[in-house]
């Protein structure tokens, strides 16, 4: 029997006192989503499309990437306790701090992905850019589309991994301190990116292409999630204890169990729906019912991505390194 009496309210009595909350989870989700959009759109734009000249295939979707990332940054900004000091991020580069790398990385990714998005605008819809300067810039960038796509692919991978490394390098929080976490976040980022592009893409071929890719990504994600829990279970006492909230089945930890339950339902269900979509015969123009089903499974994937991050952010602060 052990009885602990502690003088003072501190993080030892409230282990998650003053650390990270849903703002950070949303930031990681939106960061991952924009990373996924960049990776996925680069793949589509770089590949050879049978029967058509290779070229931009999901121009509308790419344009969302820099804005989603900037919107995500707003959440991390809201989480800062001393917002007026934010400029310090950009007066130094701390090589050992993932957050420092991230702050600089995002400053590069936002403009580069914007330029990439401009380069993908096809001549016939350039007028949608409205501003003369943007239209001109888009024309100028068009010949560099492939190169920009390659760079954006690399930046997307960096961003996706970064969102995981931000957590995984913290030995103090055993749930996060797993080398699988960045891989999980990257896979989930790519999968949510594909899901998002399925929703915004117009052409049937593009929607089906991302559906096919997402099948592999969801499959990989499920395997990685299982391996993540398995790895934690077989690791040190702290790591083993850190996954306890997910399987404790008590009133106190019900939300964590619910998170695992939802993941176990949403991801496989989305996977099956996508497999069925791929098996069906599709005309050049998709029927409304098909589009609805595609969007529904994409929303499931997006919801799953958000749940993973919320659950990991909160649960990671419950168990400390022992």
């Amino acid at each position: 029997m052990t009885e602990v009496t502690i003088t003072g309210i501190n993080s030892i009595t409230y282990p998650h006192l003053d650390v990270w909350n849903w703002l950070v989870a949303i930031y990681l989700f939106l960061g991952g989503l924009s990373a996924g959009i960049l990776i996925m759109s680069a793949i589509a734009n770089l590949r050879k499309w049978p029967g058509s000249a290779s070229g931009p295939h999901c121009e509308k979707g790419v344009m969302f990437a820099p804005f989603i990332l900037a919107f995500g940054m707003l959440f991390i900004f809201l989480d800062l306790e001393r917002k007026a000091n934010m400029f310090w991020f950009y007066l130094t580069l701390q090589p050992t701090s993932p957050m420092s790398w991230g702050a600089w990385g995002i400053m590069i990714i936002i403009p580069v992905s914007f330029l990439y998005a401009l380069s993908t605008a096809p001549p016939e819809s350039r007028h949608n850019l409205r501003y003369e300067a943007l239209i001109k810039l888009s024309e100028m960038l068009r010949p560099y589309m492939r190169r920009l796509a390659m760079i954006s692919f690399g930046l997307g991978i960096f961003l996706g991994i970064y969102t995981g490394v931000l957590l995984s390098n913290m030995l103090a929080r055993p749930l996060w301190n797993s080398p699988i976490l960045p891989v999980l976040f990257l896979t989930s980022a790519a999968s949510t990116g594909a899901a998002f592009l399925i929703i915004v893409a117009r052409r049937a071929a593009v929607k089906l292409f991302y559906t096919k890719l997402d099948i592999w990504l969801i499959f990989a994600e499920i395997v990685i999630i299982v391996l993540f829990f398995y790895g934690q279970y077989n690791s040190s006492a702290s790591s083993k204890a850190s996954i306890m909230p997910f399987f404790a089945l008590t009133h106190e930890f019900f939300l964590y169990f619910l998170a695992v339950f939802l993941m176990a339902v949403l991801l496989p269900l989305a996977l099956v729906m996508k497999l069925i979509e791929m098996r069906e015969e599709h005309a050049d123009v998709l029927s409304e019912a098909t589009i609805f089903k595609m969007n529904l499974s994409a929303v499931m994937v997006l919801t799953g991505g958000l749940i993973i991050r919320l659950a990991l952010i909160y649960a990671g602060q419950l168990v400390k390194f022992m």
Binding site: M1, T7, V19, W20, E81, R82, W88, Q94, N169
Partner: protein, 185 residues
């Protein structure tokens, strides 16, 4: 160059909590927050009980994850004294240091937003004084000094006693040493 450390002789602690009060007064620690705490851990079956009194504070680690994770360089390891300190004007309050400290030694000062913690009373040490908690410790359970000086009290104590640090497996190389800590399996 010095390297300041603290030795906590647990045999001499009576759990009076004077250190906590002295620290709060000296450093204007905000309400509901503490830079040091004394954990009272009771073990065993009644009536055969055993109590450990364990003072905890920032370990001024030699391998400090809080410093490695700080994106702005606000948290740093002072080369002259070996203390882990904070440049408050640089801190953005991102809480990476709080999340990365295995000892929960930091807190956000709700009045200013920076991630504060024990400074080994660097402002007093600079004037040749001891940290407030050490000076006030009735049982002389807390002993402070320069481990680079072989004649200092801390060096002598650590030479002559078996000592432990908290969570050595974290690899943080803490600079707060415990003498006679109740060994647990």
């Amino acid at each position: 160059m010095s390297k300041y450390v603290m030795v906590i002789d647990q045999r001499r602690c009576i759990g009076c909590m004077a250190c906590i009060v002295a620290c709060k007064a000296e450093n204007d620690v905000p309400e509901e927050h503490f830079r040091t705490r004394v954990i009272q851990e009771v073990e065993g079956q009644f009536p055969k009980l055993r109590m450990e009194l364990r003072s905890e504070l920032c370990n001024h680690c030699d391998n400090p994850p809080c410093v490695y994770n700080c994106p702005t360089g606000a948290s740093y390891k002072d080369k002259e004294t070996g203390m882990v300190l904070l440049k408050k004007n640089r801190c953005v309050g991102c809480k990476a240091c709080i999340a990365s400290c295995p000892y929960d030694a930091r807190y956000i000062d709700p009045r200013h937003g920076y991630a504060d913690k024990c400074t080994f009373c660097s402002h007093r040490v600079a004037k040749g004084k001891e940290p407030a908690c050490v000076q006030t410790c009735i049982g002389r359970s807390r002993i402070f000094g320069d481990i680079e000086d072989p004649e200092s009290e801390v060096s002598v104590l650590l030479r002559e006693h078996h000592f432990e640090v908290l969570k050595p497996a974290a690899g943080t190389e803490p600079k707060v040493y415990y003498i006679n800590r109740i060994l647990k399996g």
